[in-house]
């Protein structure tokens, strides 16, 4: 056991935990103000639901036992997960560190269904998805499953986290359907500074995500850390240049997106490539993501906050480029295409495709099953009024105008009345 490694993994776990509120702000700034709380809560609630599900069973399915496809139940209810060392840090800490990854992966998906999905359906979805999709996929790559055995490189979760979430996002956007205004009216971000705040905090937290994945405060962590600094910087520069060339105007939403794209792209590669390669990966990932963002908006796919374009394509590009730039001289491990091992690119693609397919299919099935029990989306009127009021009974920003205090006894009756659809017939 090494106190220095413990210190670093403690910090990293806190940093990754912070990424989920950060994601809430990154996403929340981009929706209309009438859905700001709904969007924020989709991230925040994952901190609770997925955290608990992970401790109770998800961790076991992902990391217990050595089967190829899924973990066993030996760590259920944290049995046997104690303070004894695993590597150089306590097992319990490893469990928590991995748990924070699970939380943000679920929250990422919400970007595809904001402003219309019912909150209760979303809660059911992330609970089941965690056990049925995330845990097995994490097992394949990190828990001793078949993708690890096949040699797929995924340092901190480009495939497990980003490709996985993005595949689910696309399917969820299709199954839930587009927002009723989508493509007809302009739907603009209500608070771009929040999106920048989210991007800034995401970057900060991502150092824990990538460099913490070394699970020690060693040279590998340093390499991953510096790459996590350089790739988004390169992505931001590249995005800025494209913006300048295209219209002369460097957008802030674009800047925030560039940071995330750079971070996503370096995630699978962080501990496998040198710093110059990190610059290259950050810059190269921008092209496809930038194009995808523009093209997606012309389709009928209302992947509202572009989970597929930013995380899916970013993650896939990063995974493939890991196969190109991996450099044993830095990592002491596998080489990639540029260093004489062209086959690694294929292995990387294979990993991406498997995860993509599994996640997409399962997501489809899970959503359809939930849809049998409870409607997946809010009604048209609810959508018009905004989900903050209809699903959460609150507004993000109130002036208090026209709010009439309800006395406690009246409140009880009123709470019942609330379920009557809004605007439906009858006078006061």
């Amino acid at each position: 056991m090494n106190h220095a490694d413990i210190a670093w993994v403690l910090v990293s776990t806190a940093l990754v935990l912070l990424m989920t509120p950060a994601l809430g702000f990154f996403y929340g700034g981009m929706v209309r103000s009438k859905n700001a709380l709904n969007t924020l809560m989709m991230s925040f609630v994952s901190l609770g639901v997925v955290g608990v599900v992970w401790a109770l069973g998800g961790y076991s399915l992902a990391f217990a036992g050595g089967h190829a496809l899924v973990g066993d139940l030996s760590f259920v209810l944290l049995r046997g997960v104690g303070l004894e060392a695993q590597g150089t840090v306590p097992h319990l800490l490893f469990m928590a560190f991995q748990g924070t990854f699970a939380i943000i992966t679920a929250a990422l998906i919400s970007g595809a269904v904001v402003e219309r999905m019912r909150f209760s359906a979303y809660l059911a979805f992330i609970t089941i998805w965690m056990l049925a999709v995330y845990a097995p996929v994490a097992h394949w790559v990190w828990g001793g499953g078949f993708l690890a055995a096949d040699g797929a490189l995924d340092f901190a979760g480009g495939t497990v986290v980003h490709v996985n979430a993005a595949a689910a996002a696309v399917v969820a956007a299709r199954v839930v359907g587009p927002r009723k205004d989508y493509g007809r009216h302009a739907i603009l971000p209500h608070n771009v500074p929040f999106t920048l705040l989210g991007a800034g905090l995401l970057w900060f937290g991502w150092f824990g995500f990538n460099a913490g994945s070394a699970l020690a405060a060693n040279e590998l962590a340093v390499l991953a850390f510096v790459n996590t600094w350089l790739a988004p910087a390169a992505a931001l520069v590249m995005w800025t240049l494209i913006d300048l060339v295209r219209g002369g105007r460097v957008t802030a939403i674009g800047g925030a997106t560039a940071i995330v794209v750079g971070l996503v792209a370096i995630t699978p590669a962080a501990g496998f490539v040198g710093p110059l390669s990190a610059l290259a990966i950050g810059a190269l990932a921008v092209g496809p993501c930038y194009a995808a963002l523009i093209l997606r908006a012309r389709t009928t796919l209302d992947d509202s906050l572009d989970v597929a374009a930013a995380h899916g394509l970013g993650g896939a590009t990063g995974a493939v480029l890991t196969g190109v730039f991996a450099d044993a001289a830095w990592s002491g491990g596998t080489n990639g295409l540029l260093f004489g091992n062209p086959s690694q690119v294929m292995v990387q693609m294979y990993g991406v495709i498997i995860v993509l397919a599994y996640s997409a299919i399962c997501t489809f099935v899970i959503l359809r099953l939930i849809g049998l029990v409870v409607p997946l989306r809010a009604g048209g009127r609810q959508e018009g009024v905004g989900l903050d009021v209809t699903e959460h009974g609150e507004e993000a920003y109130t002036g208090g105008d026209g709010a009439i205090l309800v006395s406690p006894d009246v409140a009880a009756r009123a709470a019942a009345a609330v379920r009557v659809p809004l605007h439906e017939g009858g006078r006061l």
Binding site: D401, A403, I404, V406, A417, E424, G425
Partner: protein, 117 residues
């Protein structure tokens, strides 16, 4: 000269603007307001506090037009703003005594006639 004041649902604003532009009504001023009418109130909760929200979000349009445009403007708004549900809003027509274009100081009819470009 008349002043048309219309209160509509925010989600209908795009449609209304388009309809007005099609009716050759080119000058208008809008603001965000809150309205109370026949709409169902809704209840919100903030910790232990329960409140009834008596006001709904609306958009208010103010359009000064010369006589021949009054009817077309009203028709355009009613057409585009109607959803058929309680809360669609109201249109009022008020008399204007005089109107000035600040840029030129022109008054009355000239003030609302677009200069040919």
């Amino acid at each position: 000269m008349k002043l048309i004041i219309a209160v509509i649902r925010p989600e209908q604003l795009s449609d209304v603007l388009e309809a007005l532009f099609r009716a050759e009504v080119r000058g208008l001023t809008i603001s965000r307001v809150q309205g109370h009418g026949g709409e169902m109130e809704h209840v919100e909760n903030y910790r232990g506090t329960t409140v009834k929200m008596a006001l709904s979000e609306k958009v208010r349009l103010e359009i000064a037009v010369s006589e021949p445009f009054v009817r077309p403007a009203i028709d355009a708004i009613i057409e585009a703003a109607r959803t058929g549900e309680v809360g669609d809003g109201k249109i009022m027509v008020l008399p204007i005594e005089s109107i000035y274009r600040i840029r030129t100081g022109e008054s009355d009819r000239d003030a609302v006639t677009p200069v040919p470009s």
